[in-house]
Symmetry: C2
Subunit: 333 residues, 2 copies
């Protein structure tokens, strides 16, 4: 686990999108960060107080989280100066970048000398077991997308937040770098060795109270040939009780695969159910989460209504309208 609270490092982010990890942390776990650290020329602002390393330290910050991505995911010389200074002051450092903190000599040696920890959340830190398929107690919900990057993480985070608000027992279970940095723990599933993928998901979602819900972060898509194996391992390792279909209605082809059409929600439903029943015969599809970001208000409303009528399932954009409807649908599971 990554020690909290965080100071979010925005570096010299060239635009707001470059700081989307920091924005995700601010949106979904705002209390975890005491502030943001921006270098000269930084064009991003996640709306937290601007603090120096010293000021944040005085407010209790324990980990400097790299909340920004360079083009290519590398760690620039200018960043390194700041990060080394933070390590000297007693900060741990956490990053989800492709280029690893531990592979930068200055950072590694500063961490060793100062007894601090470098968290590269892109790399697994646990030797996961092979999945045993045993039925676990507690309940699990998984979002399954028609494509990659259609809002599966946001769906899980929004459902967890709604349950927390209602005083229900609920945990968001991250399977990707951003989710891990948001919550401080999880499994970087795309970096796990093939034989241990489903076991890593079992490890992530252990036995729990009968009325506790795990919201497992989805990855990839059964219809995305590059990553479908990861999605499969999530379904069979996660043994979900409830599946929410996730969709982006304006996509014209699978992300990065121009020759591959987006499946219909009906096709996805018909494919996922028999697969999911192998691990949990009682699984149900309980709703549809639509990412309507690209649509104007009226068009979004019409799109949601059309899908809800067609599929006969509660349908909502959780980012636009909250996840209450998706949580309501779990009442009888």
């Amino acid at each position: 686990m990554i020690q909290t609270p965080y100071l979010l490092f925005l570096g010299d982010a060239p635009d707001h999108l470059a700081a989307k990890v920091a924005q995700g942390i601010k949106d979904w776990n705002p209390d975890v960060a005491v502030g943001q650290l921006r270098m000269d020329g930084c064009q991003a602002d996640v709306g937290l107080p601007d603090l120096t390393l010293e000021e944040a330290k005085a407010q209790g910050a324990k980990t400097l989280v790299i909340g920004v991505a360079n083009r290519g995911g590398y760690i620039s010389a200018a960043w390194k100066e700041v990060i080394v200074e933070a390590i000297r002051m007693g900060y741990d450092v956490a990053s989800g970048l492709h280029n690893l903190l531990r592979e930068e000599k200055e950072l590694q040696s500063a961490a060793r000398v100062n007894g601090r920890t470098l968290h590269d959340v892109r790399i697994p830190s646990v030797a996961y077991p092979i999945a045993n398929g045993k039925k676990r107690s507690g309940k699990r919900c998984l979002a399954i997308g028609t494509d990659c990057s259609v809002g599966k993480m946001y769906t899980g985070l929004a459902m967890d937040a709604e349950m927390q608000k209602r005083g229900m027992k609920s945990t968001f279970r991250p399977t990707g770098q951003t989710g891990i940095l948001i919550t401080g723990g999880g499994v970087p599933l795309d970096a796990v060795i093939a034989d241990f993928m489903a076991g890593a998901v079992e490890y992530l979602t252990p036995d729990n109270d009968p009325d506790h819900w795990d919201h497992i972060e989805g990855q990839g898509s059964l219809y995305h040939v590059s990553y479908s194996g990861v999605t499969m391992a999530l379904i069979h390792g996660g043994q979900p009780d409830a599946i929410v279909l996730a969709h982006e209605p304006t996509r014209t082809h699978m992300r990065g695969l121009p020759d591959y059409p987006i499946p219909s929600l009906e096709d996805l439903r018909d494919m996922v159910l028999p697969i999911a029943r192998i691990a949990n015969p009682r699984v149900q599809i309980t709703g549809v989460s639509v990412n309507t970001k690209a649509l104007a208000d009226a068009d979004a409303e019409a799109c949601l209504k059309e899908i809800e009528d067609r599929m006969g399932l509660p349908t909502v954009d959780p980012y636009r309208h909250g996840a209450a409807k998706l949580v309501d649908a779990l009442a009888d599971i």
Copy 2:
């Protein structure tokens, strides 16, 4: 690629089963090995000439292949003496054991001093790409099992052997340790990082002549929750034109998962087809390969006939009766 010809090391195998890797090499690629090397007390014999390291060297052997597994997959002190001696004499060494050659200091230093290569085929030696899903030329056949260990590798090897016999263009494409040692190359798919599984299969089965068949070694099962993600990546990375269903009729539950029933061949067919059509809309299921090892002759015949009638697909035990029927079924693909 592993240099050939091989000398097969059987060590002090306590029984014949312990030498099944050597037996697989002898069965499927007998010309690749000049002989076998057995230590005192060895209880296995794959039927090749017994040769010393010196004798095999004189016959041109270039690689000592560890064709035996200890309980626990470790490399004993007695083995190490022989292996170090082989390295000193100029042999490369290849192994599919869990314990890696490269992690044994004596072996690593002997290899370094003598400029020899240690092949740990359990570990990928290539940085595989992320799958791009592009349609490749040539044809591909993949065996998909109702369970793990039902004869998928033997099915692919037997179909390849039958095509070679007929003078057809054909290559067996290994995805597991035994297959890699049999042919000298391949992808150890269960050890590949999740994000690169499908890309590794694309790498393994590149563009080829329009009338060339790749027989891709299957892994796991869509119905085996521990490994289904690996099977999924094989289907979407392999984009097979033909699928052979593989089955073991006496299995009572999924291997290692006592609570999981074996699916029917009909259920497997209905699940795999829509999945495989995502990567190759023209895919067909062309036959059923049944492992009847546990059945007497008459029972095996009856079992094959019953499945053939029920499924309406050419059905055979390729180990018992050859793969001609399965190859015939590919004529119109």
